[in-house]
């Protein structure tokens, strides 16, 4: 059977599948909605960096005045002034530890700041003024962020106080004071312009994931559904190569996956402010490579699953770990080491990583060579296993 004939037949089968798909308006709407929901979901439910805003925090100023003056009052006033500008916290007044504890338990505030009674007296005695930050242990992420933000804020106020002290006590000008106090200065600079955006992290991963899903769910579904319906017999009884059937299905599903991938890309750029730094051509080639590396897996599931239902179950079982372990939503580096090892065996890890390097960091082919090689090898190995399996499954 000639290659051209196989290609011609597969083109017709692909035409049929896409035509069928396009006949349902609901399916077309879903084609658009699915990536949109995906982007919104991952974009908005996960914490984006350490920017919290209007988080309710209780503040208890227990400072006792010394000689009619309270340094604690001054600190709280400065804190409020800074916070009014940034809008990080919504400050509530509280009386002390127990009061804040009740407020946290009642979910009224996410944390608390206590200025102790000895604050002014300690400072005047030449000691450090202690400030306590209370956290809500049931919500580690918010706690960590409040801790960071408040500590930073108070350190900032502390250095301002120190600068004033230096100026008054040692007669160092306010301009020079920061240099004396903190001789080292840190600056952060990314390798591409712009501030990092969580969508830039997540969009390339989602693109790879959607391509994977369209092959892993679409392919077994498309074939086992036709098997269940009996329509596959119509193709099998025609002088058509089995390869034309599977290739036609792969073409149709990849087309669908790629359309969805591009919808994500467009949405990321237009709606979520993602800037693509790499070459679009490379992005397209990477999508094709991702298709190639997952085709074998799709065919394998198809061969194993005799019924549509079985196919759906098998692919769900495989797909969810892949989605969450491959660094699509969370960076792999944040996972425990044994999970990182596991992630290294998943092709989606490499697809997402390569896509991210190209899209976000503007990497060229040389930078993603390892990923490209691994994806290629993965595709070849899976196809080598899947091809004989499929052939056997088709001629029961």
């Amino acid at each position: 059977m000639g290659v051209r004939r196989v290609l011609r037949h597969s083109a017709w089968i692909c035409w049929k599948d896409l035509l069928e798909f396009s006949r349902s308006k609901l399916r077309l709407v879903m084609l658009l909605l699915m990536p949109l929901f995906m982007m919104m979901m991952v974009g908005f439910i996960f914490p984006t960096g350490n920017t919290i805003s209007h988080t309710p925090v209780a503040i208890a100023n227990q400072d006792v005045m010394v000689n009619g003056a309270s340094l604690g009052n001054g600190l709280v006033a400065e804190l409020e002034a800074v916070n009014n500008q940034t809008g990080i916290m919504d400050l509530r007044v509280a009386t002390g530890f127990d009061d804040i504890k009740t407020m946290i338990q009642g979910g009224k505030v996410s944390g608390g700041i206590i200025v102790p009674p000895t604050f002014t007296s300690d400072l005047l005695a030449g000691k450090q003024g202690n400030i306590t930050i209370m956290t809500d242990q049931s919500n580690p992420q918010t706690s960590a962020m409040i801790q960071t933000v408040v500590t930073k804020l108070i350190e900032q106020l502390g250095s301002q106080a120190a600068e004033r002290n230096l100026n008054q006590t040692y007669n160092i000008s306010l301009q020079d004071a920061p240099t004396v106090l903190m001789p080292y200065n840190v600056q952060v600079r990314g390798i591409v312009p712009g501030t990092p955006n969580y969508f830039e992290f997540v969009a390339p991963g989602i693109m790879s994931m959607v391509v994977m899903m369209s092959l892993m769910t679409g392919l077994p579904h498309a074939i086992s559904y036709e098997k269940d319906m009996g329509t596959l017999d119509g193709m099998l009884v025609a002088p058509t190569s089995r390869w034309a059937i599977i290739l036609g299905k792969v073409l149709a599903q990849s087309t669908r996956g790629m359309i969805q991938g591009f919808i994500i890309l467009l949405m990321a750029v237009l709606l979520f402010g993602v800037v693509i730094h790499g070459s679009i051509l490379l992005v397209i080639l990477l999508i094709l490579l991702t298709v190639f590396s997952f085709v074998g897996l799709g065919i394998l599931i198809t061969s194993f699953a005799d019924k549509e239902e079985t196919a759906t179950m098998v692919m769900m079982t495989l797909m969810f770990p892949m989605m969450f372990l491959s660094g699509v939503f969370f960076p792999i580096q944040q996972m425990p080491s044994y999970m990182q090892t596991l992630a290294n065996f998943l092709p989606l890890t490499y697809a997402a990583s390569a896509m991210r390097k190209v899209m976000v960091l503007g990497a060229g082919v040389s930078a993603i060579t390892p990923e490209v090689v691994i994806l290629g090898v993965f595709g070849i190995v899976l196809l080598t296993v899947a091809v004989p399996m499929f052939k056997r499954a088709m001629s029961r």
Binding site: M1, R5, R8, H9, W12, I13, W15, K16, L19, E20, R23, S24, M229, G230, T231, D233, G234, M235, L236, V237, A238, P239, T240, S395, R396
Partner: protein
């Protein structure tokens, strides 16, 4: 070219321990309608699947259109069409699109294919519906498209697996008529499976009766029926309200009558031979003062043939509980579900 369209030798298909088709050998002549008749699970569909290259035989061989189904499956496929029990059509595509897809899988050039599609649609009076989606059709319309879909490559041999299953009486009649027309107009060889005795009787030139994976009888419908009556005797049942012994004995004394059975107070069954036997019978009865209320011609049906040969009736699951009339005892385990 020989006169044989299909020939099988010891064709066998096993699924694990279960033998669906058990050493079946038969021949189908060109342009004949050959029926495979039997209850569900008898192995008819499996046999058709092997002949249409969808299933690989476990044992034995088969030649279809002069090609071996295993070694030359590609060649076989070019010469056959399949109308399956499940309709081979895509609901969301139009009739024309469906026909076009399958035509393209046979590498038919566009101009030829388009003409052929129009011709086929006209053939089943569906030309007006060509560009309507299949899911807007009635079951009968769908099945008409399903049948012509299998004709798109102008097959020499058409396999029809329960083509009238689930159709209303009108559509059933339509499809049967269609099968006959295709057979006559295109001289297409047909292999048809059915569990309906009347359908097989009506359509088929020859019938192979299948039971438990074996062909238990194979002949023309007429010969099959004759085989159980033994000769060309005809069986009549009379209802006579004033039936008495003198009437019965007067009938028994007739030369043409071979046997008389008195069923009850008013019914007798008479078996008689000869073309004018009915007239002779009626004359004798009337002469003896019998008032004939009804008369039935009890011609043996294929149902009787099947019952006579297999010892059980053609009914779903009938084979699960062996009947007392079984001649060769219970046959052991049978799957309750169809095995394809």
């Amino acid at each position: 070219m020989s006169d044989t369209a299909i020939s099988t030798t010891n064709l066998t298909k096993r699924f694990g321990d279960f033998t669906a088709v058990d050493h079946v050998s038969f021949e189908v002549k060109k342009a004949e309608i050959f029926g495979l008749l039997g209850p569900n699970g008898a192995g008819k569909s499996t046999a058709i699947r092997m002949l249409s290259t969808l299933s690989i035989p476990t044992e034995g061989s088969a030649t279809v259109a002069g090609f071996d189904v295993q070694k030359e499956d590609g060649k076989v496929r070019e010469h056959i069409g399949l109308v399956s029990e499940k309709m081979i059509m895509y609901d969301e595509l139009t009739a024309r699109e469906n026909l076009k897809l399958f035509g393209k899988l046979y590498d038919i050039p566009n101009d030829v294919l388009n003409k052929r599609i129009d011709k086929l649609l006209t053939f089943v009076r569906m030309e007006k519906w060509a560009d309507h989606r299949i899911d807007t059709f009635s079951t009968g319309m769908k099945q008409r498209i399903n049948v012509i879909r299998a004709l798109v490559n102008q097959p020499d041999i058409l396999f029809l697996d329960e083509p009238t299953l689930g159709l209303d009486p009108q559509s059933t009649a339509e499809i049967r008529e269609l099968v006959r027309r295709i057979n006559i107009e295109n001289r297409t060889t047909m292999v048809l499976t059915t569990h309906m005795m009347s359908e097989a009787d009506m359509l088929c030139n020859r019938i192979g009766i299948m039971d438990h994976g074996k062909i238990v009888a194979l002949d023309t419908p007429a010969n099959l029926k004759r085989s159980i009556s033994g000769n060309d005797a005809t069986l009549f049942e009379f209802e006579i309200p004033n039936l008495d012994t003198s009437i019965v004995s007067s009938v028994e004394s007739l030369k043409s009558v071979s046997s008389v059975v008195r069923d009850d107070a008013t019914h007798i069954k008479v078996s008689s031979v000869g073309n004018d036997s009915f007239d002779t019978l009626v004359d004798a009865l009337r002469k003896n003062g019998a008032q004939i209320r009804t008369v039935k011609n009890l011609e043996p049906t294929l149902e009787d043939v099947f019952l006579n040969i297999t010892g059980h009736e053609v009914r779903d699951g009938a084979s699960k509980t062996p009947g007392p009339t079984r001649r060769d005892g219970p046959r052991g385990w049978r799957p309750s579900k169809r095995v394809r």
